[in-house]
């Protein structure tokens, strides 16, 4: 095993990590999973290259894969919760097979379905999400040991020859801010951010 074991990593904060990521961005796409993941993405400063999900739990990585395939020259980040990823673990195999080198996946793992009442996920304390990613064929998968390591892994992913997955253990603090919940507006702005649509 090449990765740091989950239980050896520092427990960090989603909003802090999201801010650290956004501070590094220019025109990269970011797909925010449902709930707190995209609330924090929004609160870190709206960008037209951000896509905010309002449902479809577990599809942040597949949506990001679609963006990455359509625009291979643009770096695409996806922010997903551990509970969401559990719903769609098969997508890791799909992404490993297609191997888009412009895709960086971040899994925010706090072991709970936080937004629905903080119930533990079935994986909490047992399954290691980075190990699952590695076993799915995503060789560039690792836990971030702390905030500096997270930033290092983000930078490293930009140079990787295949897709990267970064696991981060986070606390149970609720998301900051709330995404404006207008799906058509979200999509139009995102398409504008992707350069395929002009806003009127």
């Amino acid at each position: 095993m090449t990765n740091t074991h989950a239980r050896n990593t520092k427990v960090m904060n989603r909003f802090d990590l999201t801010q650290r990521l956004v501070a590094k961005l220019k025109d990269e796409a970011v797909i925010g999973g449902i709930g707190n993941t995209n609330f924090d993405l929004w609160a870190a400063g709206h960008r037209p290259q951000n896509f905010y999900m309002l449902g479809s739990m577990g599809l942040a990585f597949p949506i990001a894969l679609g963006v990455a395939l359509a625009q291979p020259k643009r770096r695409v980040f996806a922010l997903e919760g551990d509970g969401s990823l559990l719903m769609q673990l098969g997508c890791l195999s799909t992404i490993a097979t297609l191997a888009p080198k412009n895709l960086t996946m971040v899994v925010m793992d706090n072991g709970i379905y936080q937004i629905t009442g903080a119930q533990p996920t079935p994986a909490a304390g047992h399954a290691d999400i980075v190990a699952l990613a590695l076993a799915s064929g995503l060789a560039n998968s690792s836990w971030a040991a702390d905030e500096d390591d997270f930033e290092r892994l983000i930078e490293q992913s930009k140079q990787a020859s295949g897709p990267s997955l970064i696991g981060v253990r986070i606390d149970d603090k609720p998301g900051t801010g709330t995404t404006r919940r207008d799906p058509v507006q979200i999509r139009e702005r995102f398409m504008n951010g992707m350069g395929v649509r002009q806003l009127l």
Binding site: S56, L59, P62, L65, G66, L69, A70, Q71, Q88, V196
Partner: protein
């Protein structure tokens, strides 16, 4: 019909040849799928044609997410599945394709009808059209080879123009369906 002339007579004579050419003519390059035996030849031919990026996914929802992301980033796609796969999609249709107004194009190979032997497939099939109707989604069941190109081509163009999903249900009357030899 510009690209139609490039189609071989063989392509034009088969339902899968027409589907492939119609996808191409409408610049649909990305075709993720969860397979069905009936779709085998179409999938094989999509893989063989470098125009298409085609690959299996673990679930149909995943394929819908992928083509939705691709469309928002400027690349058109369509999803292939069978009836039971469609039955897994209600959530993603109601929370992604419909509210975000995404021209999701789905080809659904119809199981569960016209001689189906599997009771589970038969029941699942009966959930499909009520789900489509409850979301006010456009859908057509294609039964005739001579109507396939018209329905598929126009439906794809309508989906793109109106930014609305569409399901094209491929009836066993069109495809021959599954061979029931057990």
């Amino acid at each position: 019909m510009a690209a139609a002339e490039q189609a071989s007579p063989q392509d034009k004579a088969t339902w899968h040849g027409i589907v492939l050419q119609t996808l191409k003519r409408n610049e649909i390059k990305l075709v993720p799928y969860v397979p069905d035996r009936v779709l085998t030849t179409l999938i094989k031919n999509l893989h063989a044609d470098p125009y298409f990026t085609t690959f299996p996914t673990a679930r149909e929802e995943e394929a819908v997410g992928i083509v939705s992301g691709a469309w928002m980033a400027g690349m058109r796609g369509a999803v292939l599945m069978q009836t039971s796969g469609f039955a897994t999609l209600a959530n993603v249709l109601a929370s992604l394709a419909v509210p975000y107004q995404i021209p999701l194009i789905m080809f659904v190979s119809e199981r569960g009808t016209l001689g189906e032997f599997n009771y589970g497939q038969a029941l699942v099939c009966r959930t499909m059209r009520p789900v489509l109707d409850s979301l006010a989604m456009e859908h057509h069941t294609i039964t005739r080879l001579d109507e396939l190109e018209f329905i598929a081509d126009r439906s794809i163009k309508q989906a793109v123009a109106t930014q609305a999903p569409v399901a094209l249900i491929l009836s066993p009357l069109l495809t021959g369906g599954k061979t029931f030899d057990k």
